[in-house]
């Protein structure tokens, strides 16, 4: 199921990742949407985290609160979006420690701390499979702004 984004999500994602990462640290945000509308992405959340040039770590208490909030509001996390210092790819750490390792969850990696083009041509997208593996997907076909 392709992700369908409300206007402005991609722009605000780039803005948050740039602003927080300051062109020197990795950064991450999550895309959320209503549980009962498959693929819909209506919001973006930036977690409490620490980061360096090639790593980030989410505050575990924040994650607990986040999942409780998702449950109370009928939402789900549809994707994690994080930056890499150079090229975009899915590292072993990315494979093993995603926010929601469940089928259909997406992981989008943006290169160069997201300081480049706002288009997703250089990005790497993977979708979590039922067998626990990640399958590479094409961002242009799997991520669309509702228009």
């Amino acid at each position: 199921m392709a992700l369908m984004l409300v206007p402005g999500i991609i722009a605000s994602t780039f803005a948050h990742l740039r602003s927080c990462g300051q062109d020197r640290d990795e950064c991450v945000v999550y895309w959320t949407g209503p549980r009962d509308i498959p693929g819909a992405v209506y919001g973006m959340v930036q977690p409490a985290h620490q980061a360096g040039p090639d790593w980030y770590e989410i505050d575990s208490a924040w994650i607990t609160g986040f999942f409780l909030d998702l449950r109370h509001t009928g939402r789900t996390a549809r994707a994690q979006v994080h930056t890499h210092p150079a090229s975009a790819w899915h590292s072993c750490t990315d494979d093993l420690y995603s926010l929601a390792p469940s089928p259909g969850f997406y992981s989008l990696v943006l290169p160069r701390f997201a300081v480049g083009s706002r288009e997703l041509g250089d990005a790497y997208l993977a979708e979590h499979q039922a067998d626990g593996t990640w399958l590479e997907r094409h961002p242009d076909t799997e991520i669309r702004e509702i228009s």
Partner: protein, 442 residues
């Protein structure tokens, strides 16, 4: 077979979104045409303009999907014009319309083997699985007869009745897709809820306009496409509405339009889209067709644009071009698979380019379905009515997913933000770019 062309866009959407691309167009269309929906209403629920509008719109929405309709209603006089229906008697006019729409569509009275029943208002029913279709001027409630309080249709502001039809129609699709899955052996995507009869309550009363005469003045509509037809369908049912509408579109009506143009009949094919719309002028709501393309030469061919401009084109660069013309107020509505989106803009921005900054690649026919288009038209008409009534609409967007209206966030609204890469380079995007440049100075 002409019904295959008429239902081509609908089959594409159902295959891609509900069957993960596995079901073929033949399997889907066969399933749609074999599905039968009962629509029942008594005389009391057809004694108001809204009751009749709810019935006519529901009939139209279901029929445009190719789903058969067994119409169980008494014959009553038509209280207000219900274009594209013809004649003075409602039942006869509906059956006449149904037989002039999708080739091979079954509609009539006494059709056997119903996949689902719709019951309007407080019409009596012993079918506890029936889906009740109720509403007011600006709201609707749809759901199992056992769980939705019966409420007689009344009133004459049509937004609630049209919303009811566009909310109930997906339930007919759910019934059809179960039949398609059963006969084709393909599994429905397990991400969606597929059992008909979900409860959906839509309240648009916060967007209500004062029920008094409203004069929209001159309005230009760029594109005479499906959304324009849905918007016009909505406006034509609003009481005491005045407008001078100019529709700009050079195209003729085609068979593949029949699945979502609510004012279109099979016998209209081949006509200019603008010519047909002109024929729906009524009273002080006048429609003028301009069978031309809206391109760079528009100042010479069209003269000054109206203060309020609507555009319903799925072609995104056409929206940028309309925004570059700098209308005082521009409303954009579009559909994207199972989503309908609308947004309103003034020249200072955030503009239509900020809202839709990237074009969508590909030349494949766009998947569409009747009820998503009607929602896009309803949202566009509401924005226009609100704007004409002095309510703020610019800088806002609204998104509706009609297949998920029973969910926690059936319709959402938000505030648009300018983007530096706005293709129109509106003043809001330029101010943002300047601010970014200032921040990056050493």
């Amino acid at each position: 077979m002409s019904h295959e062309h008429a239902l081509d866009r609908t089959a594409r959407l159902i295959s891609i979104d509900l069957f993960a691309g596995n079901a073929t167009a033949d399997q889907i269309i066969d399933g749609l045409l074999r599905t039968t929906i009962l629509v029942r209403a008594d005389a009391a629920n057809l004694a108001s303009p809204n009751g009749q509008t709810a019935l006519c719109a529901l009939f139209s929405q279901v029929a445009m999907m190719g789903i058969g309709i067994d119409l169980d209603i008494p014959e009553v006089p038509m209280l207000i014009p219900q274009p594209p229906l013809r004649g003075a008697l409602l039942k006869a006019a509906l059956l006449d319309y149904g037989n002039d729409l999708i080739p091979s569509l079954r509609c009539g009275t006494g059709l056997p083997h119903h996949d689902l029943s719709f019951v309007l208002g407080d019409t009596a029913t012993e079918d506890h699985h029936a889906v009740l279709v109720t509403g007011t001027d600006w709201s609707c409630a749809i759901g199992p007869a056992s769980q939705i309080p019966p409420s007689r249709w009344d009133g004459k502001w049509p937004v609630g009745a049209l919303a009811a039809a566009a909310t109930a129609a997906p339930e007919a699709l759910r019934a059809a897709t179960r039949r398609i899955a059963s006969s084709s052996g393909h599994h429905l995507s397990d991400e969606f809820h597929h059992t008909p009869g979900c409860i959906a309550r839509i309240d648009l009363s916060d967007r209500a306009v004062t029920p008094a005469p409203i004069n929209l003045g001159p309005v230009d509509i760029i594109s005479g496409g499906a959304i324009t037809y849905a918007t016009t369908y909505t406006l034509l049912r609003a009481p005491e509405l005045s407008a001078r509408i100019r529709v700009i579109d050079p195209q003729t009506l085609e068979l593949t339009n029949l699945n979502r143009y609510p004012l279109l009949r099979y016998s209209d094919l081949g006509q200019l889209k603008t010519t047909l719309l002109e024929q729906f002028s009524q009273g002080s709501l006048q429609i003028l067709g301009v069978p031309e393309t809206f391109d760079d030469s528009w100042p010479a061919s069209l003269g000054p644009l109206a203060p309020r401009v609507l555009i319903g084109a799925d072609h995104i660069p056409a929206r940028w071009q309309a925004q570059r013309a700098q209308p005082q107020w521009l409303q954009v509505s579009g559909t994207s698979h199972l989503f309908a989106i609308s947004s309103a803009h003034h020249p200072e921005g955030p503009c239509a380019g900020c809202a839709h900054p990237t074009d969508e690649p590909g030349n494949e026919p766009i998947p569409t379905i009747s009820f998503v288009t009607l929602w896009a038209g309803i949202l566009q008409a509401i924005d226009l009515l609100n704007e004409a009534s002095g309510q703020l609409t610019s800088g806002q967007y609204t998104i509706c997913n009609p297949y998920g209206l029973s969910g926690t966030r059936p319709i959402i609204s938000g505030t648009l933000a300018p983007v530096t890469y706005c293709p129109v380079q509106c003043s809001a995007s330029q101010r943002l770019s300047a601010a970014h440049a200032g921040r990056s100075q050493p």
